[in-house]
Each structure stands twice: as structure tokens, then as C-alpha cells.
């Protein structure tokens, strides 16, 4: 909308064009490069890469493996997350606030750390495996391959289901429950006929997010999968492997995964539109005191699951204080050697890089996030709609694909950005920006335009109104998205592992390479620093915002 006396070409158009140009350069152009590489050889259309992928079992079986892992993990995540959400909402459980934080943290830590922790516990030489083998005199080989991947992913992803369903239950007015009861429904029927159908849309949304997340994760199957190769692992080895790397083929695999990801994204959009109920609870469901065996069972389930979910973090923190022989075998003695190792070597670049890049990226994320959400809500035009779609794109496609596309586009003339800090920050920012954009868009939708109009009628210019009125009012929403962006920024692996060079290594990349080299002691110390940073950020956010909810 244009106000009186406003020029057609004003500061907002200029900003839109600048942002659009940035996203065209860093999102559209790289994807275009991928398409060209996969579809053309020597300037001619050539589909041989696609034929190669779909005719050789060695390649297409990874796609099948990925789907198997993803479906199984999503199912298990629902089986854990759904009852957890219901139990924590409907029954009074002591320390539920702490449980909530533990669950959120287990979701926010990078999945591959979970994978490597579970190897410490249930691997060939794992802590628990050794106990079982000693007690029962068996020779368990430990949990690897399909089972290991599903274990890690479901424990990592059920919190997402939990958060979505829990949020939906919070918005469910208790009078609906009471109405059903007055109409003759018993407790079981109330759950199946009223609560479950109303929670269904949120559950679906959560499931699809889990699905996309699991499908595109690369670190976990890489570490715990052993022979069981999933698609992202194959993609990584095709692109980064020491022998026989093939850019064109990797690009083709990227295109395949982009198409799959887009299909799921649109499926989610479609289902989301069809099955949504707008609910706001005047009187939310109250958690009640349970009695007898119900109480015992509920407590046991909730505490056990939370414990298992938090176990990888605990393992990491505990093992970081245990000495090792040659870095890989834990001795069992408490020591600070691991920390001494990572600090004494003078090799703290990974740590400083993480904070430095993270801070730089979060500044970019917040500035762009505020501008993009403002432009797409208040200055709606065809251009801002395009911008809106483009910003969501890096959120949909897997991180490794984003990394590969950026390398393809910027590793040669005209843009020589490969290996620079800039390209890493670009990838981190555009990949984690959607959290901030979505929460900013949500809050700006709640701000009445008349508040900005009031400022203008009182003589403030549009820029001044934006800076003095709009931004301060948006801040709470921006903050809740920015904290998500920040925590996921510092734990980003899939694109960083492709884009880093020795000088731009981050904590996650350091952990990953230490794990691959079996330097578990150092990995644990690095992970602990990362985990504590996440926990601290989360606690500060909860303290500052006064809320216990995160926009996921």
C-alpha cells in the first residue's frame, strides 16, 4: 500500500531489490549451477547421470535406505512424542519445567553428537554393551547400521513431535473436553474422538518436519551407519570422497533430493491448509494429580524417556572429564586432560570461529529477518512474495545440498569465494534465517497497522516509524526466532563440513573430524562446550523473555 505523497520507487523498493539480489545470487544462482551441471555436458542436454543413478542398485538403494530409516524414525518419534506430550499436559508431574528444558535441549543438539554418544554407550566397545556382555556372557556387536540410526534419530526427533502436540494441547479449550463429557463420552472416547482429531494437524506438521530433518541429515548415518549407506552419505562421498569424485553426478543427486524435499514441503503446505483448526483456549486443559498405578506408570514413562533422551548429552559431558589412551580409549579416571588437549595445542580456532561466525551470521539473520518479514507483511507486492518464497528455500533443502551448490557456484570465476569466511557465513545465515523470519512475520501480523499510522500522523517519517515503533514492538518475536537461529547456527554441520577449510573450522566440524579420527576425548570436550553454550543461550532466552515456549 502506498501512502499519500509516497514515490513509487522508495526506500522499501530499494531494500526489497537489494535483498532479492542477494537471494538470487546465493540461492537461485547456485541451484541453477547444479541444474546445469547435472543436465548438460559440453553444452548439450545429457540425462546420463540420472540414468546412472536409477539403474545402478549401488546408488538407488541409498534412496531406499533413506526412506526406510526416515519412516521408521518418524514412527518411533510419534510413538514417544505423542504420549509424552499428553502425559505432561494432563498429569501433574514434579519438575515438569526441567523436563521440558531437557527435552528441548536434546532436540537442539546436533544429531551426530547423539550418534557418537550412543556408540560410547551401545557400540562395539560401549559402556552398556560391555556390562551386558560381562553379565550375560554374550558377544553383542553393538548397535550400528539401521537400528543405530533409527535409535538416534527417533530420540533426537521425538521432542519436535512433543513440542508441536504440546502446543496444540495448550490451545485446546478444556470446555471442549467438558462438552464431550456432558454429551456422554468416557475418558477414552474423549481422547480418541475429541482430543486426537484436534491435535492431528499439529501432529502432521511435526511429523513432516521430522521426516525432512531425518531424511536430510548426514552426520548420524555417517557415524553410526557403518555399512548402511543413506542418500546424504552417498552424496557427501560422491562430492568429497578422496577417489573418483564426480561433481556432475553429485549435482544430479542434489537435484533428486531437492525434488523430493520440495514434494514433502508442498505436501505439508497442502495438509496444513486442509487440516487446521484455529483454536485459542480461554481455559486450557489443566494437569491433574494422578493416583495409584497410573501415577507410578506416568512418572516412570516420563522420567525414563527424558533420561534416555538426555543421555547422549550426559555421556558427552561426563566423558569429557575422563582420560583417554591415544584419544580413543577411555581410562575411567577423571581428569581435565581432554580440555588441556584442545586448549593447550593452541588450537582454539574452532571455538573462536564458532562464536565469531555465529555472531556475524546472527547479525545478518536478525537484520535480514526483520526487513524481510516487514516487507512481506506491510509492503506486500509481487517482488516481496518472491523474496518470501526464496528465503524458505534453504530451509527446505538439506544442508549438504546447500553447501555443494554454493561450492559449485563460487569455487571458480567470476566469484572466487570458496574457502572464505564469507561463504561460510552466507551459508549459515540463509540456512538458519527462516526461524527468525517466521517468528518475526508472526509477530508483525499481530501488530496493528494503526500503531504505525499513529506515529506517521504525529509527524514521524516512515523510516523513523520503522526504527522507533515497529522494530521495538517486533523485538520479542524476533528474539524467540533468533535464539532458535543462533542455537541451530552454532550446531550446524551438514553445509559447514562441505564449505570449511582448515582456517574456518567450527566446533561441529571439529567434533565431527575428531570422531571420525576416533579422538573421542577431544570430541567430548568440544561437544561439552557446544552443549553448554546451547543450554546457556536457552536459559538466558527463557529468563529474558519470561516464556517457556520456543517457536520451532
Amino acid at each position: 500500500m502506498r501512502y499519500a505523497g509516497e514515490k513509487r520507487f522508495n526506500i522499501w523498493t530499494v531494500l526489497t531489490l537489494i535483498l532479492l539480489a542477494l537471494f538470487l545470487l546465493f540461492v537461485v544462482y547456485p541451484i541453477g549451477m547444479l541444474l546445469t551441471k547435472s543436465l548438460f555436458t559440453g553444452g548439450e542436454l545429457d540425462l546420463s547421470y540420472f540414468v546412472k543413478f536409477f539403474t545402478k542398485k549401488y546408488y538407488w538403494s541409498t534412496l531406499v535406505n533413506s526412506f526406510k530409516v526416515t519412516v521408521a524414525s518418524t514412527a518411533v518419534a510419534v510413538l514417544i512424542g505423542l504420549p509424552m506430550a499428553y502425559l505432561l499436559r494432563s498429569i501433574k508431574i514434579p519438575f515438569s519445567g526441567l523436563l521440558n528444558i531437557l527435552i528441548v535441549i536434546s532436540y537442539l543438539s546436533p544429531p551426530f553428537i547423539g550418534a557418537y554418544s550412543w556408540i560410547q554407550l551401545l557400540g562395539r566397545n560401549g559402556f552398556i554393551t560391555r556390562i551386558i556382555n560381562a553379565v550375560f556372557h554374550v558377544e553383542l556387536e553393538g548397535i550400528y547400521g539401521f537400528a543405530g540410526i533409527v535409535l538416534v534419530f527417533s530420540l533426537q526427533s521425538f521432542p519436535l513431535i512433543y513440542m508441536y502436540v504440546s502446543g496444540a494441547l495448550k490451545n485446546l479449550d478444556n470446555s471442549l473436553n467438558e462438552a464431550a463429557e456432558s454429551l456422554g463420552c468416557n475418558a477414552f472416547q474423549r481422547v480418541t474422538k475429541v482430543i486426537f482429531p484436534l491435535v492431528m494437524p499439529s501432529l502432521l506438521a511435526g511429523m513432516l518436519l521430522v521426516f525432512m530433518r531425518v531424511f536430510s541429515d548426514f552426520g548420524t548415518p555417517m557415524i553410526i551407519g557403518e555399512g548402511y549407506k543413506t542418500f546424504p552419505v552417498m552424496l557427501y562421498t560422491q562430492f568429497m570422497g578422496e577417489v573418483g569424485t564426480n561433481d556432475g553426478f553429485a549435482a544430479t543427486m542434489c537435484i533428486i533430493v531437492i525434488i523430493i524435499a520440495l514434494m514433502f514441503f508442498f505436501l505439508q503446505k497442502f495438509l496444513g491448509r486442509r487440516f487446521t483448526y484455529s483454536m485459542t483456549a480461554l481455559k486450557p486443559m489443566e494437569s491433574r494429580q494422578a493416583t495409584g498405578w497410573r501415577k507410578v506408570a506416568a512418572y516412570a514413562v516420563v522420567y525414563l524417556i527424558t533420561f534416555v533422551a538426555a543421555l547422549p548429552q550426559l555421556t558427552v559431558i561426563v566423558t569429557s572429564f575422563i582420560g583417554t589412551i591415544n584419544g580413543s580409549l577411555f581410562t575411567g579416571e577423571f581428569t581435565l586432560d581432554n580440555y588441556r588437549n584442545i586448549f593447550a595445542k593452541g588450537n582454539t580456532t574452532a571455538i573462536t570461529n564458532t562464536y565469531l561466525f555465529g555472531l556475524e551470521a546472527i547479525v545478518v539473520v536478525v537484520i535480514c529477518g526483520i526487513l524481510i518479514s516487514y516487507l512481506s507483511v506491510r509492503r506486500r507486492s509481487p517482488l516481496t512474495s518472491v523474496l518470501d518464497v526464496l528465503t524458505m528455500f534453504p530451509y527446505i533443502i538439506p544442508g549438504s545440498v546447500l553447501g555443494i551448490s554454493l561450492l559449485c557456484a563460487f569455487n571458480g570465476p567470476p566469484f572466487m569465494l570458496g574457502g572464505t569466511v564469507l561463504i561460510l557465513i552466507v551459508s549459515l545465515s540463509i540456512r538458519r534465517m527462516p526461524y527468525t523470519i517466521r517468528s518475526s512475520t508472526a509477530i508483525i501480523g499481530q501488530i496493528s497497522p494503526s500503531i504505525e499510522e499513529a506515529a506517521i500522523s504525529l509527524g514521524a517519517s516512515q523510516v523513523k516509524t520503522f526504527l522507533q515503533i515497529t522494530i521495538p514492538m517486533m523485538l520479542p518475536g524476533v528474539l524467540s526466532g533468533a535464539v532458535m537461529s543462533w542455537i541451530t547456527l552454532i550446531s550446524e554441520l551438514s553445509s559447514s563440513v562441505i564449505l570449511y577449510t582448515s582456517g574456518t573450522m567450527t566446533l561441529t566440524v571439529a567434533i565431527y573430524s575428531e570422531v571420525i579420527r576416533s579422538n573421542f576425548g577431544n570430541a567430548a570436550a568440544y561437544s561439552t562446550i557446544l552443549t553448554l553454550t546451547s543450554i546457556l543461550s536457552l536459559l538466558i532466552f527463557f529468563k529474558v523473555s519470561g516464556s517457556k515456549d520456543l517457536s520451532v
Binding site: S450, E453, I456, L458, G459, A460
Partner: protein, 369 residues
């Protein structure tokens, strides 16, 4: 003293839809001018054209002979009070009110004086340091009013400022608004869909429908002598009865279709209301007199009644089946039981008569005052 607002041939289009097509009006200096109409009639659209939040597709908008069409809103010096208060939630009451003055680069000391003075006028000086979240709706609207007036605007615009308040506060606030407007003498344009509110505060009311002004008049005139059927139905309540003009012995009368023998004499019909002309009589509930059966009037049966203390409302059915409403003042002691046959007489000097399509008044408008 307030400014004159002149609007000539205003046109507003959204895409291909023309919302307002050639509207003209003039608001006098210091006047409390109300735009009244049902939702979607274009009153808020027009208000937003005056302040500059809506583009102007045609016509000229002037304040004191200065054309404002192309002046940006923040340079127009117009104050505005919004329906949802639009108080800045992250600023204290003082900072909210000072905001406009700061934009005008007024010295700090003067800002303090002016803000404190205006807060006293709207009676919230004790809340100076509060944050808006800690204020009631009425207090927030007082902040909004103070904020709009303190900049000494040439014109004050109010967009349904009372509709978010509860009934009791609404009356209190509307009296406050009227008092303050008179005290400062600011030319004010007020938008509302609430006719009672419009009648209570306005110097003049413009009744709008479908982007067209139906009538501009003082509140009492709009109520007593509506320009057409729409106005007479929108402001207050009217019963519409079909009738015919009769000339009997040099006297113009009205013969009602329900009872052609009842012919009250009319002294204020226009010359062109000829003998035998079909018309529509608009009779407000209080313009009926309920008489005993058999007395001259339209026969009717009492269906039900509502006792409201100061008056009693009767719902009656005519022989044609048409249902009408009548009000009897409390000075009549007995409530007439349901099912009673009565006779309805009209007060000829008060009722209005329109052409059959309701578009034109056939009553000569006696120019009072």
C-alpha cells in the same frame, strides 16, 4: 481556531471497484462533524483519504484553501485517534504524548510543559509514568486523545474511537471528547456507525451509504426530517406504511392503505404531492398514539409488549398482517394486555412522507432556528 476542510468530487478506487465516486462536503472551522453510516459505507475510507493513509484517485482535498492531496501524512498536521487506541506499547504515557512534539523538534522544556498540561485536560496526569499495558481501555483512549491534540493539529480525525469500550465508559468518554473538542475548538471529523453516539456529540452529521452522502444536517434535523427512507431507517427506527395523498375539501390528507377511512390531515406536504399519489409514510414508534378500539386510527392487535420503565414498547399487527412497533410513555399507567384490539393514530406534524421508492422526502422541511 480550527480550519476549514473542503472536499470536492473525491474519488476512491480499489482496482476496478469504485468505493467513492464524486463526493463533496465542507466542514466548518471548529465544527464537530460526524460521518455516520453502516459498515462498508466508505466513511473510514474517506477519513483515511483526509489523513493520507489512502491514496486519492480523484478530486481535491483542501484544508484552509491549501490542497493536501500530495502532502505526505507526516507533514499534514492532522491528529488522529484510532479505534484500537494505537498507543505505543513500549513507551510510557508521557513518551506517547511527547512523541509528536519530539518529531517537531520542540525544546525539551516546552515538551514537558505541554504534555503535562494536556494530561491534566484529559485527566490522566497521575498516570504519566505508567506503561500502556497497565492502563484500562478508557485510559488508553485518553492517552491517544491527548497525543493527537498536543501537537495542536489543524484538524482532528477520530475513527470509531469508542467502539472498543464498554457501554458505560463509552458514554463517559464521549462526553469527555465533546468537552475537550469544544475547549480547543479543533475542527473534528468523527467516524462512527453508532447513531446514538453521533446524535450525542455532533454539530452536524453526514449520513453515508454506499459511498454516497445521503444527508448532512444537525442531529435533530437528521432524526426529525430524514432526507430519505435509508436515513429514516438507519437513524432511529421507523415503521413504513403505504398510503395515498387525498385532497378532501381543500385539505391535503393521508389515507392509509390499511384503513382508507382514516385520513389525518397533512399541513406540510410539498406542492407536487398531488391527489391520488401513492406514498410511503415513515412513522417512528413514538409518533403513534395507541387509542381504544373504534376511535379514528388504523386497527391493530397487540402481539406483545416490553416494559422498559420510562416507556413501554408494543409490538402490534395490522389487519394487512404488517407488524409495527409503537411506544407509549410511562404516564399511561396500565399496560395493555396481549391480544387487545386497539386503534393506532399518527401525529401528522411529526411523521415523514416519502415517494413510494423511498428516495425523496415529500414533507416540506420547516427551517427551524
Amino acid at each position: 481556531m480550527g480550519a476549514t476542510i473542503t472536499i470536492e468530487n473525491a474519488v476512491k478506487r480499489y482496482g476496478n471497484d469504485t468505493i467513492i465516486n464524486g463526493l463533496s462536503l465542507e466542514v466548518k472551522p471548529g465544527e464537530f462533524f460526524t460521518l455516520l453510516g453502516p459498515s462498508g459505507c466508505g466513511k473510514t475510507t474517506l477519513l483515511r483519504m483526509i489523513i493520507g493513509f489512502n491514496s486519492i484517485e480523484g478530486g481535491t482535498f483542501c484544508i484552509n484553501d491549501r490542497v493536501i492531496n500530495d502532502i505526505p501524512t507526516n507533514k499534514r498536521n492532522i491528529g488522529m485517534v484510532f479505534q484500537n487506541y494505537a498507543v505505543f506499547p513500549h513507551m510510557s504515557v508521557f513518551d506517547n504524548v511527547a512523541f509528536g512534539l519530539k518529531n517537531r523538534k520542540i525544546p525539551k522544556e516546552e515538551i514537558r510543559e505541554r504534555v503535562e498540561k494536556i494530561l491534566k485536560v484529559v485527566k490522566i496526569d497521575h498516570l504519566k509514568d505508567r506503561m500502556p499495558a497497565k492502563l484500562s481501555g478508557g485510559q488508553q483512549q485518553r492517552v491517544a486523545l491527548a497525543r493527537a491534540i498536543v501537537i495542536e493539529p489543524e484538524v482532528l480525525l477520530m475513527d470509531e474511537p469508542l467502539s472498543n469500550l464498554d457501554a458505560k465508559l463509552r458514554v463517559e468518554m464521549r462526553n469527555a471528547i465533546k468537552r475537550i473538542q469544544q475547549q480547543f475548538g479543533i475542527t473534528t471529523v468523527y467516524v462512527t456507525h453508532d447513531q446514538e453516539e453521533a446524535l450525542a456529540v455532533s454539530d452536524r452529521i453526514a449520513v453515508m451509504n454506499n459511498g454516497v452522502i445521503q444527508q448532512i444536517d444537525a442531529p435533530s434535523r437528521v432524526y426529525q426530517r430524514p432526507a430519505n427512507q435509508f436515513v429514516s431507517n438507519f437513524i432511529g427506527l421507523s415503521n413504513f406504511l403505504k398510503a395515498e395523498v387525498r385532497m378532501a375539501g381543500g385539505q391535503t390528507c393521508l389515507a392509509f392503505q390499511d384503513e382508507p377511512s382514516y385520513t389525518p390531515p397533512m399541513y406540510n406536504l410539498r406542492q407536487d404531492a398531488a391527489d391520488g399519489m401513492e406514498v410511503l409514510a415513515a412513522i417512528r414508534p413514538e409518533e403513534f398514539e395507541i387509542l381504544a378500539q373504534g376511535q379514528p386510527g388504523i386497527p391493530a392487535v397487540v402481539q406483545s409488549s416490553v416494559f422498559l420503565g420510562a416507556s413501554t414498547h408494543y409490538f402490534l399487527k395490522l389487519s394487512s398482517g404488517q407488524e409495527v412497533e409503537a411506544i407509549q410513555n410511562a404516564d399511561v399507567w396500565e399496560i395493555i394486555p396481549d391480544g387487545t384490539q386497539v386503534s393506532l393514530a399518527v401525529k401528522p406534524q411529526k411523521i415523514n412522507v416519502f415517494t413510494p421508492d423511498g428516495s425523496q422526502a415529500l414533507v416540506v422541511r420547516e427551517e427551524l432556528l
